[in-house]
Symmetry: C2
Subunit: 665 residues, 2 copies
């Protein structure tokens, strides 16, 4: 087990690093190429240039093709930009559709369901691994509004699953497999964000590995460290730092008046987050019920063309999201190159307008993109949207301070107006935190990830407050985060970890009563194999309660019954079906012709009393990862509750429940 | 509930801040007083002095008393230092012994047990709150080797408990009370370290609030933020920062060769951590069985005299631990005042010797102190020990680099030998992490706390590696952390969250069989109240299984039975005891003279089959917070397993189990 985890950690670390390199190269390819080597990206190509010098090695396509006319230049540039974007996205869609339909989307809802006990091995096949990684690189590079974080978690789980196949005893134990997958998922997040701690917390909070105990946490911790070490060793960005977006800590002190714009951002994040979830769900349902459902590849191609065309027009949309976010988080520094005029103090209103436009466009684009037939993560776009909004608010606050430096509200600022009091870069971090909080409804892991991403240590408290308020506002419009909404739409058997409060109901209320269930009934002498076979053949249920009269003996799964019955019936074909078996353990010296089937009964099935409060029953399903509970009253079988019944309790009132339950593919 | 949590958060934040101020003043009082106001501490007293100027307002006692002779001066100084230390410690011990014996020690083992389902309301009384806070300030100021972190958690829980008494419905629901206490404990850690995130993680990892679901996490998060805000608002250190020990990030890059000394430190941390646990347990057992047990106050007075005398001789021991740690974490900076010669490059070996001496002395002092009759936390001393060791190793490494700047191992250092390559301050952080890991065996929360304490963001990975290795090394000598050891010594009914693997055993192995249990047996017509009363009076158990013949009806607690029986028997004194009751629900129209007792049966008692694998049974106890499980086989009562039986499974092989089980007080 440890071996698998170490290998997964190293594998994911290396894979993540190479994915980064690939994405950066493909992304830059849309704008130009390196003069002395096709396979260098822009930064690598220009890395030997002294600061201040102009990089001549990196040629835009029009330079490369020696086109002089301005008009032809820009036409060619935009054409190549859009064409390559469409080509990347299209090939990603073709790959996914043809080879691994499970590789689409983020994968996190499925992983949540799997860790919750759902068995879906096809989701973790080697093909899915390959296609997801490749398709992810293409999709990200195409400039569609999507991130690589969620899919990387999926890739990590696939890798661990593949490795686990080499160890038989591990592969067959579902509980251990789940634990291993949880650790692998943690490593995936760790690599995706370069945030080993955030990974562990993501595992704890969002993937709900609580239920599996502290050893999972410890394993995830180790795997996460190993993955981060592998990533740092490969060092894809050549910075020898894990931190992706370092905030230059110009001002380490924040002032109480800044809480006003930050609270505004938090409320905005909660509102837009909820809105985004609703739009995304509506888009998914619309797609599912319209003609688009039959033409997923065309949809991707068309939408990537639209995205590319729109993005080319707005400078903040055109650059790669990663660069955008990194620059929005950065404070303005006169000694550095200004990022597309962001620091131009005379153009505050133009910048604010551009940032808000970018945010709104990106919300619309992302809401549609997240759910198309390509691998797509939701984290990076959300961060970008939030960062745009935050920076805009920061610029406004800074503008106000510069215009009215003596207003009483700015009293706590240093008296010298040339000293920076408001740091718009940090407002972008707050905006990102609030938006992520609104969309995912995570709390602690979000704070840790952001704080590891940016290194804004002295500002933990404002980040925490923003996440908190944003979650409150969002929860007002619906408690579910985006992943939970997708799980409900797909109707995966996933139980939310939230507390369930009954209003005095007992288990009897949800229980399917005994008379409505298909059961295996034997009498004192047993049951004929023929009858047994008929029951099993007729009803495709997961398993059956076994009764002696009205007394409950136990529960036998269909798979186990079939496995046991087939050889018995083949054994002697003539009378086989007339033979009898019994589920009551046989003492020696009894009629040997009756076969002892008692070993087929599940050892671990719970039997409770139907008067038990519903709250407790739900708690057991949540904490013990059960599939079903049998109920008996003084030995008499009363009924059964399955996980599906409990899931329904939680999702009953949710509008989109099961909207996509027929599989999309 | 939210109201209580908000109030608790604010209360703890303010309390923690004032405690800091009080401790600092009392601590400085040992050395001198402020000329213009008795109630100022040294820093506040000198706060209006320009940098560079000598502070004349702060007078040592000999200055104050105008003593001129050097010999008399130092004699007086040391006498007052020791005398005040003894006075502080002694009065703390008297307070604890007289008014609130539960206020001694750290309190975290007890809180762990309470959150695990143990009911110990006396531990959370208002008296305990007051005495613990006051005693803590005195104990810390006395210079004994102890910290305020654990006790502050206890104070926070007491406060929440006190507030909860105002709300009846909350106070009577044990499960809700536990959730509230968990959130309060989180706020306590948050304030103790100024680390709101670390607090939440401490709650998750060490207090094991996993089991109670994600809503606890969310509540803890909010409480933690509020407490941190209150602390920041009060701003006891006047720095408007939460971060206690800011590491000056001179070098943000670390080099791979540094992993060698760091791994050495990690191994050292694991070894010394285990050694410390063993010494501490041995000291506690010795104290328990010797004459010291009857003279706790004298013991405190004597030991505080020894501590003060020893400490006065070694400069690093004399200063307050907080200052020591802050300076050890700091890099040397020529522009700042050198902390007791620590940065003197010519005295490396003297400093290393002094640091190692301090660490070893502190281990010995702390091992005895932690367990005396005063409030005492273990975190700060452990951090100090680790920081000393780490700084020593850092100084050696730096010395090696300065002596052999061209050795191949230092290749990755900048070629200019005057540029700092090795940062001994960060080695101190690593040392502290390793030592804490060895003593507490926490992982993630430790990393977060340290990283919030120091702001060493770019060094998360080395901290994580150090904690990981130190835990591995420590686990080799015994899996239990210090808190678990104390829980086992006190024999609290606390179940470790660790996985339990059976070797094929079933529940039947641990189960007390039916024939060895005291049960309430009724027949079809019921049971006389007289018989019932006799059973309840004779056996002081928590409750009894109720049978009809050999059929299990349920479980009734003794408290409930007594509460129901008393009025019935008083009601008609003559024939009362001859009346009958029955636990089978009565239909209307039946003999009305038989009293229906069926409502006394617990609704939520689990009934399982004895063939269930032991692993699953243990898992249920762990995750559902149960007290007992009844076992029945086809309706026939087979036996019972209680929490104590399960706890015994875990602690059976531990040498100190129950060594202090008779209460110390």
């Amino acid at each position: 087990m440890w071996l698998i985890l170490v290998l997964t950690g190293v594998g994911v670390g290396v894979a993540g690093a190479w994915l980064d390199v690939l994405v950066r190269w493909l992304g830059d390819l849309r704008e130009g190429r390196c003069a002395y080597g096709f396979f260098y990206n822009q930064v690598a190509c220009c890395s030997e240039i002294e600061p201040g010098e102009v990089c001549t090695q990196w040629q835009t396509w029009s330079e490369y093709l020696h086109i002089r006319f301005i008009f032809a230049q820009s036409l060619l540039q935009s054409f190549i930009y859009v064409a390559l974007a469409v080509a990347f996205a299209g090939s990603a869609a073709v790959l996914v559709k043809t080879y691994a339909p499970y590789a689409f989307h983020t994968g996190i809802p499925e992983i949540k369901a799997i860790l919750n006990g759902y068995v879906l091995d096809a989701f973790l096949s080697p093909w899915t691994l390959l296609i997801k990684a490749l398709g992810l690189a293409l999709a990200v590079a195409s400039g569609l509004s999507l991130g690589k974080e969620g899919p990387l978690v999926h890739v990590s789980c696939c890798l661990a699953f593949l490795l686990s196949k080499m160890f038989k005893h591990l592969h067959r134990n579902e509980a251990r497999k789940r634990k291993m997958l949880a650790a692998a998922a943690v490593a995936g997040v760790s690599v995706a964000f370069g945030s080993p701690l955030g990974g562990v917390l993501f595992g704890l909070e969002e993937l709900d590995t609580f239920a599996s105990g502290t050893d999972v946490m410890w394993r995830g911790f180790v795997t996460s460290v190993i993955a981060a070490m592998a990533l740092q060793y490969v060092d894809p960005f050549g910075t020898s730092k894990l931190v992706l977006f370092q905030v230059t800590e110009a001002t380490t002190v924040w002032r109480w008046f800044e809480l006003i714009p930050w609270l505004f951002l938090a409320v905005l994040g909660g509102l837009f987050g909820s809105l985004f979830i609703k739009m995304n769900a509506a888009a998914a349902v619309y797609r599912h019920n319209s003609i688009l459902r039959s033409w997923p590849t065309l949809e991707v191609i068309g939408f990537s063309a639209i995205t590319a065309a729109v993005s080319y027009l707005v400078v903040f949309l055109r650059v790669q999201s990663m660069d955008l976010v990194a620059n929005l988080f950065q404070e303005c520094d006169p000694t550095k190159v200004d990022f597309h005029g962001l620091c131009n103090a005379t153009a505050i209103w133009a910048n604010v307008f551009l940032l808000v436009l970018t945010a709104i466009t990106k919300i619309a684009l992302t809401a549609w993109t997240f759910g198309m037939m390509i691998p797509a993560g939701i984290f990076l776009p959300t961060i970008a949207i939030g960062a745009c909004l935050g920076r805009a608010v920061g610029l406004i606050t800074q503008g106000l301070h510069r215009t009215f430096p003596t207003a009483w509200i700015f009293n706590s600022c240093p008296p010298d107006p040339t000293v920076r009091c408001v740091s718009p870069g940090f407002y972008a971090v707050i905006g990102a935190a609030a938006m992520l909080g609104g969309v995912t409804r995570m709390t602690i892991s979000l704070v840790v990830i952001l704080f590891e991403l940016t290194g804004a240590l002295s500002h933990v408290l404002p980040i925490m407050i923003a996440v908190m308020v944003s979650k409150w506002v969002g929860d007002y419009f619906g408690k579910e985060g985006i992943y939970t909404v997708w799980i409900a739409m797909r109707e995966y058997p996933w139980l939310p970890p939230a507390e369930f409060h009954d209003t005095g109901e007992t288990a009897a209320g949800v229980m399917k009563p005994a008379e409505r269930l298909v059961v295996i009934e034997q009498d004192e002498s047993g049951i004929t194999l023929k009858d047994l076979k008929r029951t099993v053949d007729t009803h495709p249920f997961h398993g059956f309660p076994v009764l002696l009269g009205d007394q409950l003996l136990g529960y036998a799964t269909r798979d186990n019954l079939i496995e046991a019955l087939v050889p018995l019936i083949v054994e002697d074909e003539n009378m086989g079906e007339q033979r009898k078996g019994t589920f009551v353990p046989r003492q020696s010296g009894q009629d040997a012709s009756i076969i002892d089937l008692s070993s087929l009964l599940e050892e671990s099935v719970l039997q409770l009393r139907p008067e038990m409060p519903l709250e407790l029953v739900v708690g057991m399903f949540q904490r013990l990862n059960l599939r079903h509970i049998l109920f008996s009253q003084r030995g008499r079988f009363a009924g059964m509750v399955t996980k599906t019944d409990i899931v329904r309790l939680f999702t009953a009132e949710f509008p989109y429940t099961a909207a996509l339950a027929e599989k999309l593919w």
